[in-house]
């Protein structure tokens, strides 16, 4: 049963529409990441779910109830802000207990909940401190504590890790995911960081210009991108996009200069298309029969476990990520083999070509 439901949700500021009729079903207990570039509408969507922004039309349902006209405080949600939004004049304990205090919980209940949250988040030693005396990671955990004690039906996270350093981010990623799984609470997590989305979410809602480009599990987005945008957004180093055309002679092939890739099925139409292939799905080969294309080496980066080689083929620059520590001279000609089952084809409209 869907727990959070978006039905044709639209949001406009004056004449400018920023959310263009979004539809999505989120199941109870799921961890959903809303992923997208800055300005794509992901935070606006989260804020409409929270009730901090009104929607222009459509419906938002939480727990089977339409919440369009329900104030944030009555939606039974909790939100962790990018800035943490802690109350600077309150101690850590007061910050965490504030939602309980507002709901009229007894002192004993507040104390129990406070200690449960503090232990869970390793904050017991800091309960009497003010937010300004805490590190970024500790503040983030206080914000989490404040969210937990409400026992909400949905957790909303608005880029909560973006102000932390890289090492702490990795740690907090796993902490948040573990905590969410322990509590079993539905979570909606906004991020622009694809690694965060890929590693934390059950499903990713990838947004572009106020629309949902694809909503699926992380590997679906990676392995079967619904559009050129999705293919380009997910994956690091990014997918190679090679413009060319689809021809049927007699079987369907993708052609770009001397590059020819046999297509595994028959597309609905021929014409201009883009081939998408991830850097790790291209390999160097010496067997000319297995060679799909030849290219010239431009530069190389060794990351330790892999070597990423920039290669120019038919005027297009691509990246090849090899698990071997290869060594080529600049300008050297190399034979490349593309894994046919890992090739994605996109039509002129940017959408995946159905085969």
């Amino acid at each position: 049963m869907s727990f959070v439901e978006l039905k044709d949700v639209r949001k406009a500021y004056g004449a400018v529409e920023v959310l263009h009729g979004l539809n999505a079903d989120i199941q109870e207990g799921e961890f959903i990441a809303i992923l997208g570039e800055s300005g794509c509408g992901k935070s606006t969507l989260l804020r409409t779910i929270a009730g901090l922004e009104e929607i222009s039309s459509g419906q938002i349902c939480i727990g089977g109830k339409v919440v369009n006209d329900i104030s944030p405080r009555d939606r039974n949600i909790a939100m962790v802000f990018q800035s943490y939004a802690l109350y600077p004049h309150m101690t850590v304990a007061q910050n965490i207990c504030f939602p309980l205090q507002l709901s009229g919980a007894s002192d004993a209940e507040q104390k129990t909940q406070l200690h449960r949250a503090a232990e869970m988040l390793d904050l017991t030693a800091y309960l009497d401190r003010k937010p300004r005396d805490l590190s970024g990671g500790q503040r983030q955990r206080v914000a989490m504590g404040r969210a937990i004690v409400r026992n909400p039906s949905v957790f909303l996270f608005d880029e909560p890790l973006s102000n932390l350093d890289a090492k702490l981010r990795v740690q907090m990623r796993s902490d948040i995911r573990t905590l969410q799984q322990e509590l079993g609470t539905t979570a909606i997590y906004v991020t622009h960081d694809q690694i965060e989305a890929m590693t934390m979410a059950d499903r990713i809602m990838l947004m572009n210009k106020g629309k949902i480009e694809q909503f699926g599990n992380p590997l679906q987005l990676y392995d079967q991108p619904a559009s050129k945008f999705v293919a380009g957004f997910v994956g690091s180093p990014p997918i190679n996009l090679i413009p060319g055309k689809i021809a049927s002679v007699p079987n369907a092939v993708f052609e770009c200069d001397s590059l020819r890739i046999a297509m595994p099925g028959t597309p609905l139409a021929n014409g201009e298309a883009t081939l998408g292939i991830r850097p790790e799905d291209i390999s160097f080969c010496s067997d000319s029969a297995a060679t799909n294309a030849q290219g010239q080496v431009e530069s190389m980066e060794c990351t330790g476990d892999r070597t990423v080689v920039d290669i120019s083929i038919a005027g297009t620059k691509i990246k090849v990520s090899s698990p071997q520590r290869v060594g080529f001279d600049k300008g050297a000609t190399v034979n490349l083999s593309f894994q046919p089952e890992k090739c994605h084809f996109f039509g002129p409209d940017g959408l995946r070509v159905r085969l």
């Binding site: 929270a50 009730g51 901090l52 104030s71 944030p72 405080r73 949600i77 909790a78 939100m79 802000f81 990018q82 800035s83 939004a85 802690l86 109350y87 600077p88 004049h89 504030f98 939602p99 507002l102 709901s103 003010k130 300004r132 404040r146 409400r150």
Partner: protein
């Protein structure tokens, strides 16, 4: 930016220091010296006699000064509290209205732009027992009129009302800047945490505004302590001593009765009291600010 040597930096401060010394420090030092003297005028020339603490001792028997102290204290506490409270309410209302509040903001700061002499004239007319607007309203609903400025029971309250009207925009402007600079996400967090509008104000907005409120109160209190023009124009301290305020007492003693030594002693005492209040208030405000 040009680099100055340490000496250059001190030299560059010299004009400001000289300016401060000539315009502020020297007159205060002169006032301080005069407060220990008796000043008389003989054929247009000033004659001073050193009298020690005699001028300060005389204060305890000065009924006008005592009335001035009490009335000023009442005016400072009541008017300043009201101005800060009303200013805060208006600032919150304008901030909630956002862009739509622009015309109201302009209207609300008008009183502070009107010269004191005009304010005196306007309010004397409004308070007039014969044809003032207040009495016209009272009479229109069948109630008897009242001599607002001529009655010792309402004169001080009437002056306080004018002071509130005149100076609320000052508090409004300072507090509007403070309200607008409050972090929006903290307010949103309170809404999500389950706070009603009142709870958000009581537990989040108000505590975050304490430093600004304290500062506004302090500024306003210091200015209210020096109130003169409103009293001079509306009641001249009367009837009796019911609207006598310190600055008016000093004016009377110093200029009208030509007691420059005693007037200086009164001034020095007031500077001393106000300085102590400022130090205490600043300390309290700093502690509140540090708590944030």
């Amino acid at each position: 930016m040009p680099h100055f040597s340490p000496l250059g930096k001190y030299l560059s401060l010299t004009p400001a220091i000289l300016f401060f010394a000539v315009l502020a420090l020297l007159p205060v030092i002169n006032l301080f010296i005069t407060s220990f003297q008796e000043v008389t005028w003989q054929a247009g020339a000033k004659e001073t006699t050193w009298v020690g603490f005699k001028n300060f001792a005389a204060m305890k028997d000065d009924t006008l000064f005592k009335a001035g102290i009490v009335n000023t204290a009442i005016l400072v506490v009541v008017a300043t509290s009201a101005q800060v409270a009303i200013g805060l309410a208006l600032a919150l209302a304008c901030s909630n209205l956002g862009e739509k509040s622009r015309p109201y903001r302009a209207l609300l700061i008008l009183p502070i732009l009107i010269p004191g002499i005009v304010i005196g004239a306007i309010w004397r007319l409004m308070y007039n027992a014969e044809f003032g607007i207040f009495n016209l309203v009272l009479e229109s609903i069948g109630l008897p009129g009242h001599d607002w400025l001529g009655s010792s029971t309402t004169a001080l309250a009437s002056v306080i009302v004018v002071d509130i009207w005149h100076w609320t925009p000052f508090s409004f402007l300072l507090l509007l800047a403070a309200v607008e600079s409050l972090p929006k996400d903290v307010s949103e967090a309170a809404k999500i945490d389950g706070a009603t509008a009142w709870q958000e104000f009581r537990y989040v907005t108000l505590p975050l505004l304490y430093p600004a409120l304290a500062m506004t109160f302090l500024f306003r209190a210091v200015i209210a302590f020096k109130v003169f023009d409103e009293v001079f124009l509306l009641t001249s301290g009367g009837p009796g001593t019911s609207t006598e305020v310190i600055s008016f007492t000093i004016f009377q003693r110093f200029f009208l009765q030509d007691k420059a030594g005693y007037g200086s002693a009164l001034s020095v005492s007031i500077i001393f009291v106000v300085s102590i209040i400022i130090v205490i208030a600043l300390n309290a405000s700093r502690k509140k600010g540090e708590a944030l």
